[in-house]
Every structure is written in C-alpha cells, then in structure tokens.
C-alpha cells in the first residue's frame, strides 16, 4: 500500500462501489504507456515480453499507488490477431502498417478463432503479464483489461477512413464486420476471465468527433450493449471510455449498461454530471497533453481541483482520472503532482471548501 494512503486500492474500490466510507476518492491516471518509463524501459522493451509488460505496470503502481493495474489488450488487438501488420517503435505506440482486410466483401473470410490465446501470441503475452501482476500485487490492487469496443476493433481490421466512408456507402458490410468483432471481443474477454479481472472498453473511433449521434446509435450502441450484457453475465465489471467529444452521446453511452463512464477532456464534467451523473459513476478528465505533458505542477493541481469543483457532488460518484492516456513523453513528476492533488482534494469525507 502506498505510504500516503490508508486503504489498499482493492479495499477502497470495494467500499466505494458499495457507497461506504473510503480514505480518498479513487484515482486512475491512464498509465498504458508512461508506466514503462517509470520502470526504466522504452515502449519496445515494455512490449517485448510478459515480464517487462508487468514490470512497467507494477513500477507505476509502486510509485503512484493509483487504483488499478492495466492489461492493455490494445486498440489494434483484434486487427493484429486477424493479420494486420504493425510497427514496433522504440518510443512510440504501435501503429498499423497494413490492414488485415482490404475489401469489406471479404468479412466472411475472417476467422474468429484466431483471437484465442493459443493462436494469438500477443494475447498470451498480455495474459502472462496479467498473471505476474496479480501474483505480485493482486491482493491489494485490482486489474483491468483495456480492450476496444467493436467499432474501434473494426478499424483495426479495415482502415478507419474507409470504415467511416462505408457507413455511408456500404452499411450492411459494416454491420457484418461489427458482428464479427463483437463475437471476437467476447472470446478475448473469456480468455482473461479466470484471472478475475474487470474490463474497460475503449472506443476512440466511435467518438462524436468521428461520427454523428445517429450513427453511434446505429453502429456502436447495439454491439456495445451486447458486449456489456455478456460481460455482466460473466460477473465482470465494465468501464467505458470514448476519446474526443462525446457530449452528444453520453446518454446512449450510459444506456449500454456500463458501470463507470470515463470522459475525455474534450467533455465538460459539469455537463456530464447534469446529464447522466444520477445514473453512473463519472471518471475524468485532466487534459493528458495540455496539462500532464505540457503543464507544470501548478497546472496539474489546478486541473485536478477543477475536476473536483465540477464533479465532487455527482450523485453516483466520481473517480479522478486523466482524459485519456498520459503521453509517454510527459514529465514523470506530473504524475506525482496528479496523485498528490488527488489525495489532497479527494480526501474523505470530501471538503467542498477546498474547491472554492
């Protein structure tokens, strides 16, 4: 347990979910990439095997004491299993070089069995890393698997722009691809299930920045709802994050049945509280680039304070987080400032006078 806390993340999250007293509000900076630097590794090294992958997360956890470890199945996970080729940059996140599907009429040729651990070495690595993390810190901290929603999974098989264009030109084949991706994601989740993990669905391509609400309702909501129902049926909790501006779709996002709603910094937390705060716990949303990467300690504290000002009284609760993944190049001290500010403003019981 971190020296500045009185509860372990596991104790805290259990109490928080049950509406009981906690020592502080949960804090969850997105540590998908920057944790590697805390472990003294670059991103290629982090990705090189289960040990380094686990060590990155654990090093981040030891330093910050934040409230969840991550197994990052990744934005391109389904696509890679299907044969999309990615690069392996030393200091950058992976990007797709060649897509598995060049023609939407070939969706039927894709094989969902390929996502299973025994066929997908990448999933085997993530799973082994998750085992290491849980063996090391599982008694005090929960582990969340970050995976994509069906739409972003589709964009890892077939290029984003072509997929968006197909919403207009070829919606039926888009639906077939989404059907396939939803089934794949269910399989991936089951592959993790015996570890007792939670899930966070990240769906950046389903953002309001990318598509209209009507298309979200039509092409994203039904498949996501199905996935969430499936995971709930398996007893797992589900968080939901969509990048960019989701102001117009927060209601249908909550309708998917997820347990926590994570908001990008492009969304006003006050607005989210008004619209859906009485239905769901809100997670957010310090600017990862403007504040965490480019700001100083003062800017970080100010941004954390603003989040509390806007959301501390959200009826179903509030979790302090960043609005998206903290950039790899952000100063590590800013993570310490972030946690310190979270501990200061999130001390239980919350003291409204602190936010004035």
């Amino acid at each position: 347990m971190h020296k500045d806390d009185q509860m372990t993340p596991k104790q805290r999250m259990t109490a928080f979910r049950n509406g009981q007293d906690v020592d502080r509000i949960p804090i969850m900076p997105f540590m998908g990439t920057i944790s590697s630097r805390i472990a003294g590794l670059n991103l290629r090294e982090m990705r090189s095997g289960p040990k380094t992958e686990a060590e990155s997360q654990l090093a981040g956890y030891r330093r910050l004491g934040h409230d969840c470890l991550i197994s990052d199945y990744g934005l391109h996970g389904i696509g890679i299993a299907m044969g999309s080729r990615v690069n392996d940059p030393e200091h950058g996140v992976i990007a797709i070089q060649e897509y598995a599907l060049d023609d939407l009429n070939k969706v039927d040729q894709l094989d969902q069995e390929k996502v299973r651990r025994r066929h997908d070495s990448k999933l085997a690595r993530h799973y082994a890393a998750a085992e290491i993390m849980l063996a090391e810190a599982g008694d005090e901290c929960g582990l969340n698997v970050n995976l994509t929603g069906p739409f972003t999974a589709a964009a890892s098989i077939y290029p984003t722009e072509k997929l968006l264009r197909a919403l207009v030109r070829d919606p039926e084949n888009v639906r077939r691809l989404l059907r396939f991706c939803t089934d794949c994601l269910k399989i991936v989740c089951r592959e993790y299930l015996d570890l007792g993990v939670g899930f966070t669905i990240c769906d950046p391509i389903a953002s309001g920045t990318m598509m209209k609400k009507e298309n979200y309702q039509d092409f994203v909501y039904p498949y996501t709802r199905e996935l969430v129902d499936d995971l709930h049926g398996l007893g797992a909790s589900v968080g939901y994050h969509i990048c960019g501006n989701t102001a117009k779709i927060v209601e249908p996002m909550v309708d998917t049945g997820v347990d926590m709603l994570s908001l990008d910094n492009a969304v006003d937390m006050g607005m989210a509280k008004e619209k859906v705060g009485d239905r769901i716990c809100l997670v957010g949303n310090v600017d990862p680039t403007g504040v965490m990467m480019l700001g100083d300690g003062e800017a970080v504290e100010e941004a954390v304070k603003t989040c509390f000002q806007k959301t501390f009284d959200s009826p179903c609760g509030f979790v302090l987080a960043t609005g998206c993944d903290v950039p790899y190049d952000a100063p590590l001290e800013n993570l310490d400032y972030f946690m310190a500010a979270g501990r200061k403003y999130g001390r239980w019981p919350l003291d409204q006078a602190l936010y004035a």
């Binding site: 950058g92 984003t160 264009r165 391509i205 309001g208 920045t209 960019g244 990467m293 998206c324 950039p327």
Partner: protein, 309 residues
Amino acid sequence: MTEIICVTGFLGAGKTTFLNKILPICLNGRKTAVIENDFGDAGIDAAVVGETGAVVRELSSGCICCSLKGEMKAVLLALIASESPDVIFVEPSGVSRSTDLIGALSQMKDGDSALSVNVVNLVDVANFEDYLEAFGDFYGDQIASAQTIFFSHRQGLTQEKMNELANQISEMNPVAACYLSDWLEMSGEALWELIQDPKDFVNTPAFSGSGEAKSGAGVFSSWSGASDSRFSREDLEAILASLVDGQMGQVLRAKGFCRGEGNLGWHFNYRRGSVEIKSVDAVAEGRMLAIGQNLNTAKLAELFRSRPV
C-alpha cells in the same frame, strides 16, 4: 521563418494529388518538406519526391486523438532543426480535426517566432452532403478551419447544385477563399498563388453580386500561357494596365516572366490593381499566369501573344 501548409480533407478528396501537383512548383528555390500521416492513403509520388528532393517524414500515431500533438511536435521540431525548410506541407489523417492540429502547431516555435500556419481543405463535393450527415465534427471542422477550400469530384454536378454546395460551405466558413472551379485543371503555379495569399481572394469587389456564391466565397479560374514574344517595359505596363478595366475578366492576380529586348527579361507581378515590373536576366521562354473570375482566356492569350502551357 518556416511556413506550414496543412493540406486537409477526407479520404479520396485528393490531398496526395494536390501535393504531387504543387510540390514541384513550391520547390522552385525553396527548401521543402512534407509530413505525412500514415493513416492516409498512398503517399506522395516517389517520382515527385525524387525529382524535387523534398524531405518526407511520416507520422505514425497509434491513437488518433492522444499522440497527435506529441508526435507532431517532435517530428516538426526535428525537421526544422535538421533541414530548416522554408515550407513544410503537413498532410494529416483525413479524420483529424484541424482545430486540434492548428492548436498543436501554434504552440510550437521556430526560434523565437511562432510558426505561420496556412490550412488548405479539399472537399469531395460529390459526397459532401452524405459525409456531413454521417461524420462527427472533424469533418465540418476541417472546412471551418481552412483559409482556402478547393472542390474535388465536381464532375456530374449541375451549376445549380454547385452553387448550393458553395453557399452551404461558405456558411460553414465565411472567411475562406473557396475555389469552385476544377483545381485539377489549374497549373501548380496557380494553386501555389491561390494558397499563398488567400485573403487576396476573399471579399474582393470581384465577388460581390456575382450571384454565384454568397458571403466570402468566389468562383475562381486560372489561366497560364507561354510566350516567346519580346515585350518592352511600356508594352508590359500597357498590358497590365488593361487588366484593371474588366475586359479580361476580373483579374485578381497575374504574374510571370517574359522576354524583353536584347538580353533583358522582365518579372511582373499584378495584384489587385497594383503593378510591379522588375528587370531580370535573360528569360528563355516567357511564362505567365492569371487568376480571377470569369477570365477571358482568349483575350489574355492574345494580349501576351502566348500559346497554352
């Protein structure tokens, strides 16, 4: 100071074609670089890069929203430091918001000065209405953030439909210079001129009451010619003076080189009524260009005693 020109537009709008057309022109004496996003279509022609010597860098952002600023900054600053280019073309992903891109670029500096950022947007007008209805705010944002807008895929659209789309687009961005004619038929020189000083082409008297598009948008066309004829300074002054009276159409910009007497040549520049003529070293072949509305290309050719390029 490095000039940044962002060429934005959704898949199929012609970003790469545009770059292939304008790069050889831009490179005329300028050190040029291109930053391409690998989310986009096929890259610029290897032949164009080979001929021109432009420096090309790729962005490989894994998450569209998050890493744009960080990686863009790193690539751009490294480029400026190592190559000190005069012009950097940025071809972002077709789904990126120009506002975010401009925001990221405006935080960067070239030495002590801020970067000058110019945004060109290519709109696939055949699909404009469908895309506007289906896509999120990145699409409208690309239009609203541009200084110059070009229409692609105009074939098959009636003039009436074009005007309707032009009105809609100029409502989304009343301050952009909106080029409705077929830019594929324009010379690279003309495109370069148009994007250089878009303000020259907006809200000029030439547009008011044109009836073709509301607010700031205007219908431009261009003309280019080549000529072996020799002109005296007086000839040239008379020709350029005649551009003002409207007989050649509404010429907003004309420039070029032409042969003078003996070993002399002329470089001329006509900009909304003001004329500049400089003598230069011998010119092997005269080349001239005009941009404006309702250009009388036959008359322009006659004036410069030119042949088509």
